[in-house]
Amino acid sequence: MSSKPKHAQDAATARRDFLRKSGAVAAVASLPAFYIGSAAAQETLKIGMVLAKQGPFALQGGDLTAGMQLAFNEAAGKVLGRPAELVWADEPNPQGAVQNITKLIEEQKVIAVIGGTSSATSLAMGAVAQRARIPFITPNAAAREITGKDCNPFMFRMPATVPVYAKAMAPHLLALGKKWYFIAGAFAFGEDVISTFSEIVNAAGGTVVGVDRAPVGTTDYSSFVLKARAAKPDVVISGAANVEPLLKQFKQLGLTGRIALAGPAVSDTDLWSASPEALTGVYGKTWYYNDPNNSPQEKAFVRAYIAKEGRPPSDRVFFGWHAMRLLLAAMQNANSAEPLRITKALEELKLDDGGLPLSFRKSDHQLLRRLVVASARANPADKWDILDVKTTRPANAQALDEMYGSQAEVGCKMAPL
């Protein structure tokens, strides 16, 4: 079929044409960032955001960005009385994240960056921030290393780590039974869940009746759930990236309500995407929109978001909003657009969280904040309000500090600024 020279010529032209066009598309796609906010003026201050726009983290990246935009708008788009803008770049993978944060720092001259939907991209970007001496806040990453052995003076982390969740959840889970089964994702978070929660059940005199690591990208969990069913555990602990497929299989195999399900760091969007009849389980979370313990500012934020979007904010929207608020507050305290001063101000920052102090711990730059342990309502009447919060606030600042582990447990040796 390919013996005619004309065909070959056509093919060559088409190929050149294709290459030319795809080149143009690639050039547009590889622009480092798109702009939110007003046109750049000479004295405009820029804050960088490196958050997923595509791939499996796109949903979380979008929610985080929406929250940041909201907090930025609450400040009327101004920082230190000067016009400011947010610059959003993508983080397709750790290498891409490093390239983009470097571009933001070198070309856009951002004075601070919030970014890292995943632990892998956060760790990679934290190292760049340290070299460039720019404050970097990661709003969504749970890996221990970030505030552990890879901690650095320019990196600040907001969510709790798995051991903190485990401590908060332990009494609720042990009350359900002492035979635990693990279905975890075969990645860092899953391993963390398996080792941390195993220690807890073993220390309480219980047993681990099975451990499964599901490869990343597993969509059909039925074989795993069948295996768990045969092991007859009291509780199945999920360390999967998304708990919804497990809920689905529990429902289909008639296990909903018969074997308890639990998981740390479970997001609202996962639970909201499950069908109401499938809802069950005890979950560790950083925040829940209808938690009676929420501070007045948080309640105002929820009202504002519902008014704007017609649905309550997910925990990721809150993370974004909260991260931006903390950064803006630190800039205000620093009274300077100098990255080093902002970093120092972040370290010194102390806000009031409804009677408890809210601050980054100096020794490891972990945000100290209470956690939420909640149980899912069976067949909730409201499609959004699906959790009953079981936890109350820690008694005082010291109790809060203890929740997050001692310096020896965390393992961070913070370098001087």
Binding site: A214, V216, T219, D220, S223, D270
Partner: protein, 289 residues
């Protein structure tokens, strides 16, 4: 132990039937058009979303309507784009279909958002069947029955209708079929639609088992390529046998070595190709030699 093994086997079989359905469509398109269609998985995902969107309006007929609409979209794309790839080197079709796959995924994100969507199985299929030591959900059993029915219909169409004969002949020697006076272009479009319809059906059937996400195509397209390779390129019976093998091997690996369950099918493929480079049922086809 036997109990859980038989249950896993039955469960894997149901999973395998989904793979068979995707792979058969892929195989028909490859066999007839010589196109390595990377967009096949995207049609699979698109159909699940279309069914989800149609369901509130038309009820359960969405299950057939969605694959039909997706097949129409596939045929339009074949006329517009894919047809230009037939007389070019295979890489061109591969890149083109890959681009279409990315485009469809992006369109899904723009239209329906990135969030996971819930697609519950019909209420009357809730529950499990316990047959001796074997446990299978009613829904999975329904998937097996529907897939077998669809495959039988496809087989009868290809074997006993004049259209089927043209398609089979066209797969072997398209130029000859053209010389015999058949409008090959129209046949090609039809075949592409048929293959896409199969992908669409698989997407609708898989939706209640998996989670409906823009990336769900990835979970279908790789097993489908593996299935087609194991079964032998272009062989329908090969795709059926290989799809079931992939499903069962994956499910049994979860039982014994869960960490390796994603890699199991590739090992199976490597072993089959080592022993029989043409795949299980791969015939010597003049077109590809």
């Amino acid at each position: 132990m036997t109990e859980i093994l038989l249950t896993q086997l039955a469960n894997g079989l149901a999973l395998g039937f989904i793979y068979v359905l995707v792979a058969v469509g892929l195989s028909i398109i490859f066999g007839m058009l010589g196109l390595v269609n990377f967009a096949h998985g995207a049609f699979f995902a698109l159909s699940a979303y279309v069914a989800l969107a149609l369901f509130p309006h038309v009820g359960w007929s969405a299950v057939l309507l969605a694959p039909a609409l997706v097949a129409l979209a596939g045929m339009a794309l074949e006329r517009l784009l894919f047809r230009r790839a037939y007389d070019k080197e295979p890489l061109f079709g591969l890149i083109l279909s890959f681009a279409v796959a990315l485009l469809i995924e992006a369109l899904i994100r723009v239209t329906w958002g990135s969030a996971n969507r819930d697609f519950p199985a019909p209420g009357w299929l809730d529950g499990v069947l316990e047959w001796g030591p074997i446990l299978l959900t009613h829904y999975r059993l329904a998937v097996v029955v529907v897939t077998i029915a669809a495959l039988l219909m496809l087989w009868a169409f290809l074997e006993f209708t004049p259209y089927g004969r043209i398609v089979r002949a066209g797969a072997r020697d398209p130029e000859m079929v053209g010389l015999l006076g058949h409008n090959l272009r129209r046949v090609f479009t039809g075949v592409f639609g048929l293959g896409t319809f199969m992908a669409g059906m698989a997407g609708v059937l898989a939706a209640p088992l998996w989670t409906v996400t823009p990336t769900m195509s990835e979970s279908a397209i790789m097993p489908a390529f593996v299935t087609v390779t194991i079964g032998g390129l272009g062989s329908l019976s090969g795709a059926v046998v290989a799809g079931l093998m992939v499903g069962i091997v994956t499910a049994l690996t979860v039982q014994f070595w869960p960490d390796a369950s994603a890699a199991a099918m590739y090992v199976l493929m490597a072993v089959v190709l080592l022993l029989r480079p043409r795949g299980l049922f791969g015939a010597r086809w003049e077109r590809f030699e």
